[in-house]
Amino acid sequence: MSAAQQKGLSSDWPHQLREHKGTLMAFVAFVAMFTIYAANHAAGLNANVATTAANKGALLAIVAIAQTLVVITSGIDLSVGMVMVLANCLASTIVVGTPLMTAVGVAGVLLVGALCGAINGLIVIYGRLQPIVTTIATGAIYYGAALALRRVPGGDIDATLADALTGQLPGGVPASLVLLLALVLIVWLPFQRSSVGRAAYAVGSSEVAAYMSGVPIRRAKFVAYTLSGLLASVAGLFLTCITYSGEASAANGSTYTLYSIAAVVLGGVSLFGGSGSAVGAIFGALMFRTIGDLLFVFNVEPLWQPLFQGIVLLAAVCVGSLRLLRIRNRLDLYG
C-alpha cells in the first residue's frame, strides 16, 4: 500500500494516466495502424520491410523531437527542416575519410546544428521576436548556407557509419529504432527530468506564473532551442546516411518542418505549450508515415496520400479541441 493510499488519497495511476494521455493515445493509434499495415502487407512483415519503414519513420521522428522541444515552451521552430538540410549538405562534405576524420566530421555537423538552434534561441530571448518569424528568417539563412555548400546534389558519407545507422542489428532489429531509443534516453529523458526541462514546460504553460515562481525562463528557452537545433542536425546526418549524398533541397526542408508540426500534434503535444512529450511526438511521426504505407498496401494511388494525411491531422486536432466545449467564459476561448 502506497503512502498516498494510507492517507485516503486515490491511487497514483489515474493521475499518471491523465498526465500522459496524449502520448498514450498516440501510441495506441500508431500500434493499431501499424498492425493493420503489417497484417495486410503482401510479403508479410519481414526484417527488410520493417527496416525500410523504420528508417523513413525515424527520420521524421527525430525532427519531431526537435520540434517538440521548442513547442513545449509555446514557441514553434520553422527552421528545423532547414537545419536538417544544412546538416545533410555539411555531412556529405565532412563526414568522410578515416574513422578519425569521420568522427570529427560528425562532431562538426552536430556542433553546427546546436549553433543554429542557439542562434534561434538567442534571437527569440533577447530580440523578443516571435519564434515563428525568427525561425522563418533564420531557416532561410540556414538554407542559404546549405546552398552555398552544395549547389548541386552530390557528396558522400562514410559507408560504415551509414550502413551501421540504416541497417539491421543482429536479430533483424532496425538500427534506426535503436538510434531513436538512444536519443530518447540520452537527450529527451534527461531534459524532461532536469530542472531546466521543468522550466521549459513551466514557461510554455504560463510564462507569467513561471516568472513569478522564480523559474529561469531564459535558460529554459535557450536550452530548448539549442537542443532542437542539435537534434535537427542528427536528422540531417541520418538523412545523409540514407541517401549517401547531400542535397540543398528546399522542398525537403519545408516538408519536414511542416510534417514535424503535424507529428507533434498527432503525438499529443499542445501547440499552446506546456504539455506533451517527445515520446508522443515520435509515435505521431511514425503514425504519419504509416498513413502512406497503409495506402500503399491497400493499393490506393499515392496521389491520395496528402489528402488522407490531412484528414487524419484534422481529426487529431478536433479531438484535442474537445475541451473547448467546456469553457464557461467565452473570453477564455481567445485568451
Binding site: 503512502a3 488519497l9 493521475h15 514546460y201 507569467v208 506564473a209 522564480g214 469553457i327 467565452r330
Partner: protein
Amino acid sequence: MHGVSKRYGGVRALENAELAVEAGRIHAVLGENGAGKSTLIKVMSGVVQPDEGSMLLDGKPVHFDSPAAAQAAGIACIFQELSLIPDLSVADNIGISNPPQRFGLIDRKAQRRMAEEALARAGAEGIHPLALVKDLSLSRRQMVEIAKALARKPRILILDEATSALTAADVTKIYAVLKRLRAEGLALVYISHRMHEIAELADECTVFCNGHSVASYAAGTKTDNEVVELMIGREYSAVFPPRNAHVETQSTPVLDVRGLSWPDRLNDVSLELRAGEVIGLGGLDGQGQRELLLALFGVLRGTAGEVRIDGRPVTIAGPHAAKSRAIGMALIPEDRKTEGLMLPMSIRDNLSFAALDTLSRWGIVNASAERAAVERIVQLLAVRCDGTGVPAGSLSGGNQQKLVIGKWLLMAPRILLLNDPTRGIDVGTKQEMYQLLRELAGAGAAILFYSTDYDELVGCCDRVLVMYDGAVIRELVGAEITERALVSNALNIGAEGRHVGRTPGVLS
C-alpha cells in the same frame, strides 16, 4: 521598509510607505482599491523595483531585482493572481523554484515527499501530489499555492487576499495553519478586506491610503469605523456634472435582471435599470462586478436567472446578439488594449467596427457615411489626434479610452455597460467622460457603471449596488451614496451575520 515610493507614469502608486514586520506576528495591511497595497507587496517580493526608499531585512539593506532574488532571501508571496503553472502536477508546482535533484536530474521521489509534507503543512492533505493543477478547483489551487510558498521554508510569508477564493472549509484550515506558522516564528503579512478575518488573525495592522501608510496600530485598538475613516481620507479631485433631475421610476425598466447566477462567481444578482439612469456597481475589486457585466453581455456560458429587456425575457447569446437593434447593449471593457481596441489599426477602423452593419449596404461599407460618422464621434469626444488614419496605439491612454467608448456610441446603444472605464487615465479626460455619461443618460440611455474609484460612484451615480462575494449586498440611493457608506459596505462591516456568501458565519 522605509520611505518606499513607486510611480507608474504620472501615477504615484506608493509614496513614502513605511512598514515594519516582526517575526512571530501576523501583520494585517488594509486599504481600499488602489491604496497601494498590491504595489507594496510587489516591491517586497521583487516583482517591481521601488523608485526610492529602502528595505531592511534583519537590519541589513536589501534589494530584490526579481522574484527569484526575494525568494532566496526567504520572502514567499501568495498573490491574488495565482502563480501556479496549470499544465504541471501539484508536486511539480510545489518544487518548481528549487526542485530536489540527484545527478543533475529532478529526484521525483524526494520531490513527492517534499510536496506531501508541504501539503500537510498547509492543511491540504486531501490533494493528490500527482494531480494536474488545471484539474483542481479554485479553492484547491489556492491551497496548493500556500503549500508551494511553505515548501520554500520562508521567513516572511505574504498573503494577498489569500482567502478570497477559498471555500469555508479551507478557510478554517488556513486559519489554523497561519496561527501555527506564527507560533513557529514566521513573520506574516496578511492583506485582506475582510474585517472579521483581520480581527481573528492580526496582531498588528497598517492602513494604506492613496499610496501612503497612514497608520499602524495594535490589533483591536481601533473600531471598525475608525479604520474606515483612516482608509477614506482622500481629497476630492474631481468635479461632477449635476444628476438628471427626474428619472421616471414607474416606467418599465430597460434592463431587468432577476436572480442571475454563475457558478462560484455570481450569486443571485437582481437589478433594474431604467432609461436615463446611471447605476454604479461598487464594492472591492473582484467581487463579481466584472463577471456581472460579462454575463449581461452574453460572454459567459452556463448562467442561470432571467434577463428582461423592455419587460420581455431575452437570451443574449453573445456580444453580437447583445448589440442587435432589439437589445442595443454596449460594453466598454476593462482592458482597452486587448478587449477594446485593435491597437495597430487606424482610429477610423477602430471606431467603425462595431457599427459596420449600420454603415454598410449589402456588405459594402459606405466610405463617406463611415467618414462622416467617425468625424462626428471624434469631435463629440474631443479625441486629440492627427487625423483619423493614424493607428489607435499612437494615442494616449485617455484618448484610447475615448475611442473605446466612441466605437460603441456610433451604434447608439440604449444600454451602456462600463467596466472601470477611467482606470489609468488622466484627470482631464475623466471629467470629459463624466460629462459624457450624463449627456448620454440625459438622452435616454441606461447606464450600468462599475468603478473601483469611489469618488466616481459618489459623483456620477443615481444608485449604487455594492457587491460582495458575487452578490449585491446593499443598494445605496441618492444621498445615501457617500464614500463612507461605500467603503463600510464594501468591507461588509457589521454584516457578517447576514448574507455573506461563502464566508463562514461562525467566525464573526
